[in-house]
């Protein structure tokens, strides 16, 4: 029988300051980058025109760019998409080629004409084409924002019902931490934020909350079971007891998300990368953020479970089972 981390007895809480430092090293550069460069929104959110072109022969990005420049479509973003013969072209609305009143449709047609002129008709295929008016993009931004706020309120209400407020607050702070690290991840990796990626972030919120709930569930149980131990020990004990489960579940989930990252194709990759990162940060935050924050909250506003929380920071005796 294989047993991973069975009867583990690590002092997780002791390492909390290192954990804070580590997470700050992730979040701060991300937020700086966010302030400087902003989020790389997909055209669903910004409005504009996107064409995904598959050429039958390998073509240099520069060739496509000069084709568009000649046609007067300036400032288009051209990136390869998965291979050397697949490109994503993002063009703004109302370029020179279409006139200021040119809608997204006219822009797409202009790009198509420019490519035909340069590469010749029939040497490429437009496999995906998306055109969004800025108005619709703004609406979607509003919707996505609403979804995030909504899911926060609902999960908060659920936590409030399931746990007393100190546990709930700690779980919410851990979740907020996950969102911050994920935004940093998105910005630092220059991933394109589409509605599907927002969906991944929200799912991740649910998933990371799960993890925190499972540890807190055990904390609650152990507080009742071991009347004589203090909170510091109970937290460590609970994390250690749930460790095999965490390792196994994150292992299986990670196996599926990694399969998606490497095998499910370019379209779904940003989504899968966010999910993979989310599993990592969710696990990290349940152990190193949620539990120490709970300690801190119990110290500041002691509840009936605050046993020994005031003494935290002092070298604690090892937890025993």
């Amino acid at each position: 029988m294989i047993r991973l981390f069975a009867n583990a007895n690590y002092d997780f809480i002791k390492w909390r300051r290192w954990a804070y430092l580590l997470t700050a090293l992730m979040i701060v550069p991300g937020l700086v980058e966010l302030a400087i460069r902003g989020i790389n929104y997909s055209i669903e959110f910004t409005g504009g025109t996107m064409l995904q072109v598959r050429t039958h022969q390998v073509v240099e990005t520069g060739v496509l760019r000069s084709a568009l420049d000649v046609a007067g479509i300036k400032g288009a973003e051209i990136t390869t998409f998965g291979s050397d013969s697949e490109f994503q072209i993002r063009a703004r609305l109302g370029t020179q080629a279409t006139g200021p009143g040119g809608g997204s449709e006219a822009t797409a047609a202009a790009v198509d004409r420019a490519l035909t002129a340069k590469l010749g008709a029939g040497t490429y295929t437009i496999v995906d084409h998306q055109a969004v008016e800025p108005k619709v993009g703004r609406e979607l931004q509003g919707k996505a924002f609403l979804a995030i706020v909504f899911s926060f309120v609902v999960t908060l209400a659920y936590l409030a019902w399931r746990f007393e407020w100190r546990f709930g607050l700690a779980a919410v702070i851990a979740t907020a931490h996950d969102i911050l690290t994920t935004i940093s991840f998105l910005v630092l990796m220059r991933l394109e934020v589409s509605l599907v990626v927002v969906g991944a972030v929200l799912t991740m919120v649910g998933y990371s909350l799960n993890d925190t709930i499972i540890i807190f569930d055990r904390v609650r149980e152990n507080l009742r079971k071991y009347r004589r131990q203090n909170l510091y020990e109970i937290l460590n004990l609970s994390i250690n007891e749930t460790l095999p489960r965490s390792v196994l579940t994150h292992g299986t989930t990670m196996a599926t998300t990694l399969a998606l990252v490497f095998l499910a194709g370019e379209v779904i990759r940003p989504f899968a990368m966010v999910m993979t990162f989310a599993i990592f940060t969710g696990t990290f935050s349940s152990i190193y953020i949620a539990a120490p924050i709970l300690m801190y909250i119990e110290k500041r506003w002691p509840g009936q479970d605050a046993r020994g929380a005031r003494a935290y920071g002092v070298k604690q005796p090892q937890a025993t089972t």
Partner: protein
Amino acid sequence: MKTIRSRLITIAVALGISIWALFPKNEARRVRDAQTGLMKDTVERQVPVNLGLDLRGGVHLALEVDQSKAPVADCADAIRRAERVVRTRINEFGTTEPVVQVVGNCRLIVELPGESDPARARDIIQRSAFLEFRIVDMKNEFRDAIPAIDQALHQAGVKGPGQGAASAVSKLFGDTSKSKGADTIGASILGSLLQTGTMPGEFFLPEEQRPYVDSLIKRPEVQRLIPRHLELRWDAATEVRSARAYRALYAVESRPMITGEYLTKAVAQRDPLTNQSVVNFTLSHRGGRIFYDETGKHVGDYMAILLDGQVQGQPPVIRSQIGAQGQIELGSKPLVEANDLALVLRAGALPVPLTIVAERSIGPILGADSIHDGIRAGVVGVVLVILIMVIYYRVSGLIAVAALTLYVALTLGGLALFGFTLTLPGMAGLVLSVGIAVDANVLIFERIREELQHGKSVRLAVDEGFQHAMSAIVDSNVSTWLTAAILYLVGTGPVQGFAISLMVGIVASMITAVFAVRTFFMIWLQRRPDLTTLSV
């Protein structure tokens, strides 16, 4: 024993329903015949899982009422009326399972799975298809008004087309411009641009002058001088004469003799002799009578056929009274175009103009690639999960894998049964939920291991393992389900697909990981009552 049997029956029924839901079924479909361009019904046998546009390829359009020219008071009502017309048109369009749906207050979503020609889709949906018959200016009242109009334009400070441009034209087209000069009426602005045609009220001008002339005739001082009962209308197409494109402008009566609202039938045909495309139409009984009376008053006159304000072809002369039958000539245009025109005429005119606010067209190659990659990732992901579970939990792991198989069947069955659409993010959601689904089993098995370690008997450890793991399982599933539900409510298209997959997946995993695995354990323990150690 009894409980085991009823549990097994429940599992068997759930599995049976799922397999039945996934069994390939015969479905009647309307498809467009490639040769004739007409619709026909066929029967196809296929697995009844709806694939989203991102997997099948197709065109997605979001339309709104175009208020740029004239604001619409009640756009919710306008979009509902437009929806009816668009739906009728789309049902004849030739794609299977098209979606026409009003979302929000005044937006219309049209989805055409499998369609690869977005331009044609746009044209059919946005065309207002307003058909009118109007008598042309038989008394040449507009032509007689041109000198007065030119004078008014002079007074308004409008210069002619410009000497430079005119001389450049005459250099290029030396001969034609001379002969044109003989035809022109008067020597000023409109008079010099418009050549009279062969019938009253008909004028020709070089195509490149059209925007300029169009801007002139829209000026208020010109509009004031056009006889009140007349309007100017452009021809829909250009005509090539001596290697030069000309556009016809017609002065027609403002009052239509009859409009397309009386039209009951429209069929496209190709004249085998002339090889010209035509649309034959039939008017209703009442419309036929009106048309008969009206044409009776105008025998010998020319009648312009207008579609969306543009004249279709050269106006024919009315030789005798026309009843309920008529024909629109489209010249050498392909039959497909004639078919599309017949289609929009049948469906009726669009009550309000529509504008496209978002469009997506996905090629079938991309969709096929996505399915292929998605399945590959799914298979690899599931195999990895199975390996981890069996290696780590051995016999219990095998039980979990059996439950996982059941889980996949239930999820896919659930998607098929409720007619949910599977999208690419939806496939990702399914793969992901396989990883999450085993979480419940992991929680239970770890709990059983702990109970065994505390020295409890196998039977007791299994019972308590399930019991104690329940609260954590319920909590984690409820919170994930809630976020998925919010995503479904707020999201669109592919994201909704993801949310649906996740929600169905969570429900299925609760059933299989808890109920089914419990049942399998019960059977196992009953078969081996002497069990002192558990392979977990």
